[in-house]
């Protein structure tokens, strides 16, 4: 498997606080890589560093072999990297369809308006918003807004999708459904880097896990390895019995 996204030695300070320190790992094609860690571990900051919201102090970010370190967000999007946010950012007065069209028009494929509408519809149906195409984004429920966030990212036809706590605030049924959607996205060949706090979900979904603590990589490996890693348990999972319970397969 070739590496799709390579993070090398990434560091970022904010006025003396080291948000991310010497972080290195890779996301491979067709892989779901889970990113976990306590609050304040630097996960969202990492996303911001990858897609150009922040410029790293040190280190490189390579996507499909191209150095995208510090490039502006819209350039990163054009390379085929899409992202959702922890706090959803809908284009509030625009409809679901229009929101998705923005993703389709300005994403990797840079589609013209007519073609973008077709893609936008498909994507909206795929995430379950097919019945609400004309609804203004502001009028969606929180679940709807999360789905819209995902649909918009998908409409850009990315090769790598960055998901930031897409399951937060959802009830168990909705979580199941979203997990299914995420799996089907991977089936289509899109790699996924996912930040999540819903342990069971992320352990079950991910092919590999990277654990972050205080901006540094604490551990990396298959979910089972990571769950059994003593330093991870100490820092994050806390209770060994809990860790055992979360181990996929019982």
């Amino acid at each position: 498997m070739t590496a799709l996204l390579e993070i090398e030695g990434l560091s970022k300070n904010f006025g003396g606080v080291r948000a991310v320190q010497w972080l290195s790992f890779a996301v491979n094609e067709r892989e779901i890589l889970g990113l976990i860690g306590p609050n304040g571990a630097g996960k969202t900051t990492l996303f911001n560093l990858i897609n150009g919201v922040f410029v790293p102090d040190e280190g490189r970010v390579r996507f499909r072999g191209i150095d995208i370190t510090g490039k502006a967000p819209y350039r990163v999007a054009r390379h085929g990297l899409a992202r959702t946010h922890q706090i959803v950012q809908p284009l509030t007065d625009m409809s679901v369809l229009e929101n998705c069209m923005v993703g389709a028009c300005f994403g990797r494929e840079n589609l013209p308006l007519a073609r973008a509408e077709v893609v936008a519809r498909e994507v909206a149906v795929e995430v379950g918003l097919g019945d609400r195409l004309s609804t203004p984004a502001a009028q969606l429920t929180i679940v709807g807004k999360k789905r819209l966030e995902l649909a918009r990212a998908l409409a850009a036809r990315p090769m790598l999708l960055l998901l930031d706590e897409v399951l937060a605030g959802l009830n168990p049924t909705e979580i199941e459904r979203m997990i299914g959607t995420i799996r089907s996205i991977r089936e289509r060949g899109i790699a996924i880097l996912i930040i999540e706090h819903v342990m069971q979900a992320i352990m079950g979904l991910s092919d590999r896990i990277v654990v972050l603590n205080s901006g540094q990589k604490l551990a990396e490996g298959a979910p089972a390895e990571v769950a059994n890693d003593p330093s991870v348990i100490e820092a994050y999972l806390g209770d060994p019995a809990l860790a055992a319970a979360l181990h996929p397969g019982g």
């Binding site: 904010f14 006025g15 003396g16 606080v17």
Partner: protein
């Protein structure tokens, strides 16, 4: 040689008053992320308040400072509730438009009442001579009073409970709310303070130069330039920026007709924005 030095010193004195005006603007901007487009009107109000208090009420010029400060504060709080309160949290477009429209109303009323004629408040004060140059007493006292106001602001913001509450709201409104601070009242307080500072600056400018109802625009632009130089939400930077602007004006004055000043200041404004989007003395927030 000394001509230049005198220009520089005078520029610093006057510039500090620009800094005072800008402090009001930057305070509001920093605390509630609102650009107060009534800033120019507030400055003009201070000017005309001085005129009215000295001519109609017979008050000695500098004795008008306390009432203007208080009056400016009250007007500021009122303005907050009328035009700003409902715009907090909405797109910046909205607060720009609301404060802009209030400015229109105020300047419109002003021109209706006072026209566009030049007004002057005669203030005589013995000057200070040095090396054959006389620095007008008015300039010195204006700078001195500016220093006092700046000092008072500093004491308020850093050594009183109320001031610390205002700073907390500026830092993170949600956190301040959770800590039990009545954030809306702090916002109105900050706005009142901002307008009060602008009014006092206007009063001091009126002791230095003649003015018209339309003078607000020019001083508002100066305040914007200074705010951008000093960094948003940074009153100390505003004072330094004001002095810097005064320096530039002082240095340029012997070489350039006054009507070009506006062009230069605007070019400076744009240039600084392009090169230093955060302001030259930008205050790093962690």
């Amino acid at each position: 040689m000394f001509g230049i030095v005198a220009s520089i010193v005078d520029g610093v004195l006057i510039g500090s008053v620009y800094g005072l005006a800008a402090m009001g603007l930057t305070l509001i901007w920093g605390v509630m992320d609102v650009v107060n487009l009534t800033h120019g009107a507030a400055i003009v109000a201070g000017m005309f308040a001085l005129y009215l208090l000295t001519s109609a009420a017979g008050l000695a010029p500098y004795a008008a400072l306390p009432p203007i400060l208080a009056g400016g504060f009250l007007v500021g709080v009122l303005l907050y509730w009328i035009a700003v309160h409902r715009m907090i949290g909405r797109p910046p477009l909205m607060s720009l438009l609301s404060t802009f429209s209030v400015n229109l109303v105020l300047i419109g009323l002003g021109t209706a009442v006072w026209g566009t004629v030049l007004f002057n408040v005669p203030v005589t004060l013995p000057g200070v001579s040095w090396q054959g140059y006389t620095f007008p007493g008015t300039h010195l006292l204006a700078a001195g009073l500016t220093a006092v106001m700046a000092g008072l602001l500093y004491l308020f913001l850093y050594h009183t409970r109320l001031g610390k509450a205002v700073r907390a709201v500026a830092d993170n409104r949600e956190a301040a709310e959770l800590a039990g601070i009545p954030t809306t009242q702090m916002l109105s307080l900050a706005f009142g303070l901002g307008v009060a500072l602008a009014s006092v600056a206007g009063m001091l400018i009126a002791t230095l130069f003649p003015f018209t109802v339309l003078a607000g625009d020019a001083y508002q632009l100066k305040s914007f330039v200074v705010t951008v130089l000093g960094g948003l939400g940074n009153p100390a930077g505003a004072l330094l920026g004001g002095i810097a602007l005064g320096l530039v004006e002082g240095l340029a004055a012997p070489f350039m007709p006054v009507s070009w000043t506006l062009v230069i200041e605007f070019v400076l404004f744009v240039a600084v924005l392009i090169v230093f989007p955060g302001g030259i003395f930008a205050f790093r927030r962690s």
